[in-house]
Each structure stands twice: as C-alpha cells, then as structure tokens.
Symmetry: C2
Subunit: 466 residues, 2 copies
C-alpha cells in the first residue's frame, strides 16, 4: 500500500506552505479546481490570514454542497445559535446517567436526547441505558460488544448488505462471523439465515439487523427473523439482536405509509442510529440505546472521572448531544414527519424521472435511496458525489436535495449517457438485473419489462416463506 496524497478533496492540496501573499486561489490543471496551500511550517499566523484560508475552503465546498446526492447526510441545518459553544471544550466522559467530576459537560442534554429515543423505541427509562456516540460505527461497536459479552462464544450473523463496519468489528472483537445472503431488495435472506442457524445450533446467535441497508436502503424483516430464530430452536436466552438503524432507523417510525415496527417490545438488545444522517449535525455522532441489563457486563467504576464507563470511546463530545437536542426541539414531531415525507416523495420523483428517461432504477418501499446503474464516467460520479458499489450507484434523497437538483442531475445523466453510449459504439447500458431485479433493469435485454411497469416505486417484494 502506498501512502498517496489526497486527490479527491475539494480545491485544496497540502504540498507547499503558503505565505500570506500566496493565498490567492490558483487554477489546478484546468479542471476548475483551485489550490490552497496548507502545510504547517511552524510560523505563527494571524487570525486574519487563517480566516482567509477558511473562507477559501468554504467557498470551494459550495459546488459540492450543491450537487451532494450520494450520501445519507442531511446538509440542511442552522446551528448559528450554538456558535458560542465553540469557546469551550465540553466532555461527557463516562456514564451520562451518573454524572462525572468533569463538570464542563452536557450530560443533561444527552439524557434528554436519550430519553426521547427510548420513548420512540418503547423502552422504559429504568430499563434502558445508552449514550451519544461518535457515529454509526461506534453504535455498532457498542451493540455488538454487548451481544458478544452476553454470548462469548456466539456467532455473529450479518447479511452481505450490512455496513462495512460490521465485518471490521467482528475481526476486532475476534468473533466468528457468518455472512448471510441478501435478497435483491437488499433485505437479509431469511431462507439462508435459517439454514445457517440450523447448521450452527450449538452456538448462540448474535444478529445484526439492518434498518435501512447502506447501499439499497432495505429494511430487514425483524418479525420474520424472530420467527426464524424460534423455528430454528433459538430460545430468547440464546440470541441477541442488534439493529443498525444508521439512516433509516429514525425515519421509519415517522412514515405515513406505515412500515415494519422496530421496538424494544420485540426481543432486541440494542438499536443505534447516526445523528449526522437524518437529523443533521456538523460532526459525526449517533445514539445507541440498549437494554440496561446487558450493560452490567461492560460497566466499570472509574475513580479518575468519578463515574462509570460502559462506552467505547470514553471521552465524548459534549457538543454532539446539544446539536441533537437543539435539532429535535426545533423540528418537533411534525417537523420530523414532514421532512421524512418530503424525502420519500422526492425519492419517488427521482425514480419516476429516471424511469421516464429509460434509466432502470430501484426504490424500496420504505426508503429514500434510489439505486441505478453506476455511471461510466468517474468524473460524473465525483461531480455528484455519488456512492457506488460494483455495478450500481445510489442517490440518497435527503433534506437538502431539491427537485431542482434532481432535475439537473437527471438531465445531465441523460445527456452524458448519450455521449458514453455513442462514443465507442460498444459501451451500452449495464445489465444490473442481478443487483436490482430484471423489472428495474434498462439494459437491452430487460428494457421491455421496465416499459410495462412505469410506476414501480418499490421492488416487487419476494415474499419470504420460511
């Protein structure tokens, strides 16, 4: 592995130190990007000089912001009222419910946020524990550790569509991990899960469920998974379910059209969501809520902070809980519902526009993630910050994504396809039937299917009888 320098970052390189006089943007090889020089040479710089660099940097991000379609982060928020908090280092080290001698903390905001999520997921205050994390990965690190400590020789089952952190964590924790097949929708394949459980009946099961998969936004069928566990002979004391709800875990409860219900009334151990995704937050953060009785195995009294520690990261941001608190208070339930519906509506709009343009696309019923063929040109992918995996790409329709952005995107994609597919007379629309189903594929072979189903928002659900 070589230690190459960044090549995909906005308008900035770090090769040469900038004296004040060198701060004007410099054209970089004609691709419209401009260079700032960020090397730290040890001199002291004035606030004015540094402010100038930041201003350039922010300006350089604007074009990316205006075409930011590929990731499930909400870039539409206003935390101006919180700017004075930048004057303090706040730290919620330890247990948010226990207080600590690090008095510059925001654990009261944190507990309010946690209580809100506990209420959302139907667990009583005296039955849950949780904390504000540094993001979805830490939520998974925590939930899966609880599962492992509960069942030290348990096997981790996760569908192949699970977030990459899940497999990384299995390795970190030295857990046996079995990858379960997924349906075309992205949901966990319960036939496969059942076969794997039956083949490994002698060991407890730790199950990672996706409440919105990373690439296709599929929601695993929690009721079916619980039924399968029962059928395979796993009683409640022999399994642990962790729900990775990164983006969609907080959208799902607010869908007008219903959808599967994630709740602690079902036998799950933990749920995590990311705070910077649907809610929107400048820094990555998240929330993990778990059953209190699983926490004892992890929690340690730590004299140094006069608190207990059952977290992964120990020192924790005091700002993140305030961002989340502020956000929830400002939106209110109605605000959240409206934003969820807007995202879903606009995602359906995009799916339709692509369909009308003859471009195959898939949109799960309970999702704001539109999946389609990976564009042939990397520059196009980068220009719209698309996330790709194999033959497919996706747009996640978040709050900052307007109809106008989507129209521009589709128009540009249509225009570019006409160039890509004529250019060499050989390249043509990829067949992505394996990834999104024949009915959603617009390759030469499958195009006919598409035409007869113009309003197919959701992938035709393959009913899982297991």
């Amino acid at each position: 592995m070589e230690n190459s320098r960044p090549n995909d970052t906005p308008l900035v390189t770090s090769i040469i130190h900038a004296a004040s006089s060198e701060l004007s943007p410099i054209s970089n090889g004609g691709n419209g990007r401009q260079i700032m020089k960020l090397v730290i040479n040890g001199d002291s710089h004035t606030q004015a000089h540094l402010g100038q660099v930041i201003t350039h940097y922010l300006a350089s991000l604007q074009p990316h912001r205006q075409r930011f379609l590929g990731y499930p982060t909400n870039e539409e928020f206003n935390y101006e009222a919180l700017a004075p908090l930048l004057h303090l280092h706040l730290n919620n080290a330890g247990d948010p419910f226990h207080g600590s001698s690090f008095t510059l903390n925001s654990t009261s905001f944190e507990v309010s946020v946690l209580d809100w999520f506990a209420n959302l997921w139907d667990i009583e205050k005296n039955e849950y524990w949780g904390y504000v994390t540094t993001g979805g990965t830490e939520g998974n690190l925590h939930g899966l550790l609880l599962g492992r400590e509960q069942f030290p020789d348990g096997i981790l089952y996760a569908s192949q569509d699970s977030h990459y952190s899940v497999f990384k964590i299995a390795r970190m924790y030295r857990m046996q991990c079995i990858k379960v097949a997924s349906l075309i929708s992205g949901e966990i394949d319960c036939h496969d899960l059942k076969a794997l459980l039956l083949a490994n009946k002698h060991k407890p099961a730790i199950i990672n469920l996706n409440i919105g998969t990373t690439m296709k936004g599929a929601v695993d069928d929690i009721d079916l998974v619980i039924k399968i566990l029962d059928k395979a002979g796993f009683s409640r004391d022999r399994f642990y379910i962790h729900c990775d709800g990164a983006l969609f875990g907080i959208m799902l409860p607010f869908l007008k059209s219903g959808g599967p219900k994630i709740t602690f009334k079902k036998p799950i151990g933990s749920i995590t969501i990311s705070g910077h995704k649907f809610l929107g937050c400048p820094i990555p953060c998240g929330v993990v809520i778990a059953r209190l009785n699983y926490i004892n195995a992890l929690s340690r009294d730590i004299g140094y902070i006069a608190s207990r520690d059952a977290t992964i990261t120990g020192s924790r941001s005091g700002h993140a809980p305030i961002f989340l608190w502020y956000n929830l208070q400002k939106k209110g339930i109605m605000g959240i519902k409206n934003e969820v519906e807007n995202c879903i509506r606009n995602a359906r709009y995009l799916k339709d526009q692509l369909g009308d343009a003859g471009i195959g696309a898939m949109l799960n019923e309970f999702s704001n993630t539109v999946v389609f063929e990976k564009p042939l040109d990397d520059e196009f992918v980068s220009r719209w910050s698309l996330a790709c995996n194999g033959n497919i790409a996706h747009v996640v329709v978040m709050q900052h994504v307007t109809i106008q952005m989507l129209d521009s995107f589709v128009a540009e994609l249509v225009h570019n396809r006409s160039i890509w597919f004529q250019e060499d007379g050989i390249r043509k629309s990829l067949c992505i039937a394996d990834e999104v189903g024949a009915v959603n594929c617009s390759c030469a072979l499958h195009k006919a299917n598409m035409d007869i189903q113009p309003n197919n928002y959701a992938l035709q659900q393959i009913k899982q009888n297991v």
Copy 2:
C-alpha cells in the same frame, strides 16, 4: 446497576419540559445551582427560545470554567473564525491519504496536521500512516489493534498507571493483558516488566508506554524498556510498542529542560495524542501516527466510499482536523514552546505554594500535573473539578489556569483543611507516602522529611538498574 439521573452536571436537570415562560433559572435546593428543563416533548420550538436555553447553559458553565483545575484539557482557545464551518456536515470517512467520494471533507487539512506530527516524531512521509481520531481512546484502540494484528498471540503489557481505556481495550480485543507494577513516580517498573517478560518469553510482547500517565503525569522510560526487551531476548520482530501520549506526548518535545525523546528512530510502532488536551479543541479528538507497514493488515478497500478504511470509527469529523490545523498555525512553534513552559512554571509554582502551606505534593520532573492528598470534602472536589484516584487528587496546570486561580485554590484548600481537621478532632492529613513517596507526604509521620526539602519539584528519581 441502577439508571440514576445525572447529579453532578452544571445547573441543569432534565426532569420537566420547559415552556418559554418557565425558562428563568430556578434555585435548586440552596446549593447555588440553578435548573433548566430540557425534556423534549415533541413540540417545535423557536430559535429564540432555544437560544435562551443555550445562553443559560453557557452562563451556568462559567463558574466551573473559572475553577477548572483537575483535567488535562486546555480551555483557552478562540475558534471564532471557524464558526461558519458549523453550517456544513464534513466527513473524512476512509483513508485521509486516499481521498473519498464523500467530497464534503477536510482531508487536506488532516494530512497537513498528520505531516506535522510525523515530522515532530521523525518519521518520513512515505513511511507513516495516521489519522485524526475521536480522542485518546480511539488512538489506543488503533495502536493496540495494530500490535495485536502484528502479533495475534502477543501479550499486552501495561503499567497499572495506564489509562483505563487500555484495559478496556484488552478486553474488547480479547488480548491477554498483564498489568505491570509502577514506581511511585507513576513510571512503569522495569524490574517488574523484565521479570514478566522473562516468564512469558514464548509469546511476543505488545507494550503500552505512557508518555505522561493519567494521574501522575509520569513518562515511562522508553530507552530502558527497549533495553529490557533486548536483555529479555525479545528481538525487534517479537515486540510492538504503542506510546500513549494523550496530554504530554505533544508537550515533551517542546520542553526547555530536555526530557526523554519519543521518536520513530526508536523501535516503536505507534504514537497517539489527544487533540483536545494540550492543543485545545471544543470536541474530543486526537492524532495517531503509525508505521505504514503495520497498516496493510488492517486496511480494506471500501467501494461505498471509494476509499480504504483502516480506521476504527469509519465516518470521521471533518471539523476536528481543521481545529487542529488552525491551532497549530496560530500558535506556531514559538507559541507552543511558550505555552509548555508556562504550564510547567505554573505547576512548579503550585507545588511550591502547597509545600509552603505544609501540604505534601508531588510533581514529576517532566510534568505539569501536581499530585496531593485527596480533599476530604466532595463538594470541594467538585467545586474545583478535581480528578481523584484513591487517596490522591491532582491539578493539571493547563493554559487556562492562571496564578490567580492557583492562589485562590491553595487559599481555599488551606482554609478548608483547617476546618476539616479541627471539626471532629480525629480527621487529619492523610498519609499518602505510598502514592507520592515519604519525601512528599505531609502526614504527621512524614512531615519532617518535607521540611528539609523545600524545593523538591521532582520526585527523587529512583534509578532503575535492571
């Protein structure tokens, strides 16, 4: 374990929802604290209303800020110029050197910061890898994982004075961990280390070295540890050294008076420091630098972000590297040197003041952490945000700690001791000779020793001949 509500947080509780009219601070049981009500009830609130809550909260932190002595975080910084960055979610997911398709990133700032640290610790750009972490614990999570992946059956050796995260990590990673004794100074006891290494010669050694222990600020003797490894028959390909430099790792190179040298010219694998400690940053963050050749075992290509991932947390703050970059550029080398010297000078001042008042205290030669008897009254401990462990407490003299604060603290401590020790006629100065050495103890038995050594800044070093 019960899920109690916070009791030690500043002026805030989370019991009842506040309507606008209820926002005025309310006296809370006469202890001078005031209550705000933070419960989220689902209504939408105006920015003005929420801004008022934040203003109250900030005001409630001020008294704590003015007496914040016990933790190694620098509360003296000004990031006003960075406030506009709050309008964007920035995310450095993946490998900072590789770029990613998450275009709203700050990896160029991150690489500049990493290059600066690599240069500080004498490792060439093409020989290191690193990233900006969420704090010291993630740095330890990363460094120790590199060690474990290098030596899957290696034993982790860490002195009993190591940060609590080190032992938590050993458990998370299912590593065999041996706790090594410490000297009174807090340094790792190399006699004990040698005996333990000899008793476990058949397994590689992964060693956690403390560059400033949490409680006593002791710097482990890296040269002696390397000598011990050699003497015990551990060749370079059978050990991995991770340096936990949380606070002092970045202060040490800038000491006027020299001190041990931490450098990649010595056979170490990784170093980590916290960004929110000496440098000062609103949110917890840190830096880890490791030898590039150890990274391959961890790094995975992740299609979704068009990057590689060798980090613990995956999604990572784009703001933290900019805070660090800004801070290093504003201070410059001379600024850092001055701040280090100031902290050291003021720590010696505190040690002297305590000594003059007949209060035993210890200050290691290369440290800004003053250790003394744990005050008898919890309210006093909380009032000054002191960190305690067993019979001892410490003050970490950071940039925001002024001579005036220290004078007030000593005066108040002297005054309170006169009350505590008279009150019942029984309580008296604790003997802390076991923790800080007889020479630094002011209990009835050891007081005489103290009087003959009025200028003993550093604990008399016990030369470790091993």
